[in-house]
Subunit: 458 residues, 2 copies
């Protein structure tokens, strides 16, 4: 699919270069706004305004919403007041609010100046809510009905008001702005009697979120309940807006990217990879690398204090990387599983007993198999094949016992830390592999040297 898009992209750029504007306009009108926006992303800056002006008004606005902030800013800088007003008139309020959040102050001033008073007020309302809250992602444009309206009156109202609403398919029945229930267009269209008041047919067990609900929780509710839209109410249960499923999907993707970045030992970034500067990449990566490097001092100190043992049995050193890596991998398997189950809402802190019992049994099974295979491998490869005389049966035993204990420790640490982090109100993803690796490394080395002392007497 990506390849097909590249071919289209090249053809269109060629048309632009050859000034075949009317043909280009024809092609663009058959394209989807997201695809046109992707096209803009690959274009030279100078050509962006030219191509944009070829788009019909409505398509232009829809494309504008899908574009990257830097291209949006470039366009607005070049717009006449009239052009800006035309684009703004076509935007939904939540998209306009997103735009205002992204733009620098001088552009924001122009936008708010050109927006009509109603939109200006709505934008300001949405911007008052904290970032990442339901209030900041909602739109204030929805269809509201009164409970005494009949099915026929309701449909009439939708037909009159629908044009400006992001979704008309779920309508909200309110009285004095208090949310009483919801009615879908499907219910209205399929109603047997046009005279039924919507108050009698509405669904009253409405699930709503507060303006301050975290966006991650909002996204989870969408995926759990399969809603098209979710009403947002204020502290007094008065309806202030709706969140639509497309914004919830975007949040789901963003939150997942954030989780992955944190689990990979980075501070999360809002920019896409190719839009991030090298400085951005550096700044998001260096803090964790520094922290983890300095914390590896402990493993160094452990090794230093057992230098005598290592000097006496040099063969022991060769197995340190294998022990550390296997411990790290075992731990991250558990932590990754638990972190994901937590973010899907499958686990609570109170499940910690169940989780530990499962992980310990799994660890014993994994540890036993790994140790057995490792024992045989060391005997075959290191002792016989490579003929290393330092690798005695006893050394082999020390390595495999350590391996077993390390796997168990790693899995216990790996499953416990994310649950504890969640309980303490931290993001469990922080407790993913890099962090756990460091802890497991230190513990596995300690175990290694203890067994060496016990069995080898070094």
């Amino acid at each position: 699919m990506a390849e097909r898009f590249e071919i289209v992209e090249k053809a269109l750029v060629k048309m632009l270069e050859d000034k075949k504007y009317s043909a280009l306009r024809e092609v663009l009108t058959t394209m989807n706004p997201s695809d046109i926006a992707a096209l803009f992303a690959g274009l030279e800056e100078a050509r962006i305004p030219l191509l944009f002006r070829l788009l019909p008004k409505e398509l232009a606005a829809e494309t504008f919403v899908e574009m990257e902030p830097d291209a949006q800013e470039l366009l607005i800088q070049g717009f006449s007041d009239n052009e800006l007003k035309e684009v703004l008139d076509e935007l939904y309020v939540d998209d306009a609010a997103d735009l205002v959040e992204e733009m620098p102050a001088n552009v924001v001033k122009r936008i708010l100046h050109q927006a009509d008073p109603e939109m200006r007020q709505s934008i300001n309302q949405i911007l008052r809510y904290p970032e990442n809250s339901a209030g900041s992602m909602m739109t204030t444009e929805y269809v509201s009905l009164r409970p005494d309206m009949t099915v026929e009156e309701s449909i009439l109202r939708i037909r009159r008001q629908g044009i400006d609403k992001e979704t008309i398919y779920t309508c909200y029945v309110t009285q004095d702005r208090t949310l009483l229930g919801i009615v879908t267009v499907k219910d209205l269209l399929l109603a047997e009697d046009d005279e039924t008041p919507v108050g009698e047919m509405m669904l009253t067990n409405v699930i709503s979120v507060s303006t301050l609900t975290d966006q991650e929780e909002v996204a989870q509710m969408f995926s759990k309940y399969n809603f098209l839209a979710l009403p947002v109410v204020d502290g007094e249960n008065r309806m202030v807006g709706i969140v639509t499923f497309d914004d919830a999907m975007d949040v789901m993707e963003d939150e997942f990217t954030e989780d992955i970045e944190i689990m990979g030992g980075m501070t999360p970034s809002e920019k896409t990879y190719l839009k991030s500067s090298v400085l951005d990449l550096f700044l998001h990566r260096i803090p964790w690398l520094l922290l983890l490097m300095v914390s590896a001092t402990f493993t160094g100190m452990i090794i230093t204090s057992f230098e005598g043992a290592l000097a006496a049995q040099v063969a022991l050193t060769a197995f340190i990387p294998m022990l550390m890596d296997t411990g790290g991998n075992s731990g991250s398997q558990s932590s990754v599983t638990i972190i994901r189950a937590l973010s899907l809402g499958e686990l609570r802190f109170s499940d910690i007993g169940k989780v530990l019992w499962r992980e310990i049994r799994t660890a014993v099974a994994c540890g036993a198999v790994l140790s057995a295979v490792c024992f045989a491998k060391i005997l075959l490869v290191d002792r016989w094949l490579m003929g290393n005389p330092g690798v005695t049966i006893l050394v082999d035993a020390v390595v495999c016992l350590t391996l077993f204990v390390t796997v168990v420790i790693a899995k216990v640490v790996g499953c416990t830390l994310p649950l504890v982090a969640k309980k303490l109100g931290f993001d469990p993803a922080v407790m993913a592999s890099p962090f756990i690796t460091t802890i497991v490394d230190a513990l596995s080395l300690l175990v290694y040297f203890l067994f060496s002392q016990l069995l080898l007497g070094v």
Copy 2:
């Protein structure tokens, strides 16, 4: 929220124990199917059929769809033929097909026997498509219109047929089953003239998927284009079904989970954590652990061949864990970033040059800072504070040079492997941290010993 649900759960179980059935029924009818299904998941097996029979017919079917397969099987085993037929009649075809896929053969036979002929045919059609294809996740129930129908006729058709359709909001204009365009209920309701034929107002640049399109690609199209539903066509562009956004959201979540599991060094599992047996967990984790443990043999071999150097300069051993961990962390930062950008469609293989140039500059910056801090830290902590005479300035230099080179190698390997995997048609997630750690370990040890030989002459 989880806590609130636990309280409701306890209250309802108490009501069930006290046989307050009519009150319980009252409460259940105000609840959402997903929440009732979650309630069933926590219930003793013997009580499941009892509680299920308290639900009104339609709510029962909606709840049934949301339940876990084992509870579904339990219920079907206990259903009379009549009860089974009633539940099946309320299911949408795609949900019924999912059910058939999950159940054992004897249950499937009963389901197909009780389904009406039309549904049986649709189920069989859906089941013929490969797992994880658009065909297997679609429903065959959608509203189709002819291009010559007027707006008024179309609305009438929706009102007559809509009751059985999963979504009515997007209607498909077809001729001889070939997809010509789409019309939304919003378009129809807001149309100015009731006599306009839908063929004149339909959107013709319809994006569709083939029955064989992979479900991950389908989900990505939903998040890119914000569709409510996506038409599925066969090889001759004849419309065979639609995929709805709720199924796409589920796929998106499942694919995230799969990515995370693979990146954590596990084979992906379809079961939730608490539903997986210890054997499941073991079997999903042990293959990678074994593979990675055995591949760590190389690091062991490298250390063994430099045993002499280590014996001469015991202080060198203490820094092995720090070098390996920092290398592993640097590499996984890059690989995780690239894997995510690939699965979001932000990168293509042809960007490899751009990616390498960015990663190398970032690596040089990270490596320089890490080496400088490490140099100072070793001097301060290891040499002066801990008074380790073996840690000479030259040893410090070897460690920090190795660190710098390791970080650069790790980032280059970390960004290259996922891109190459993608190009070769593998899942890039496989190239995440565990794999890259193993490679980077071996390379960093080689560099370490090379620098030792050069600078320390050991």
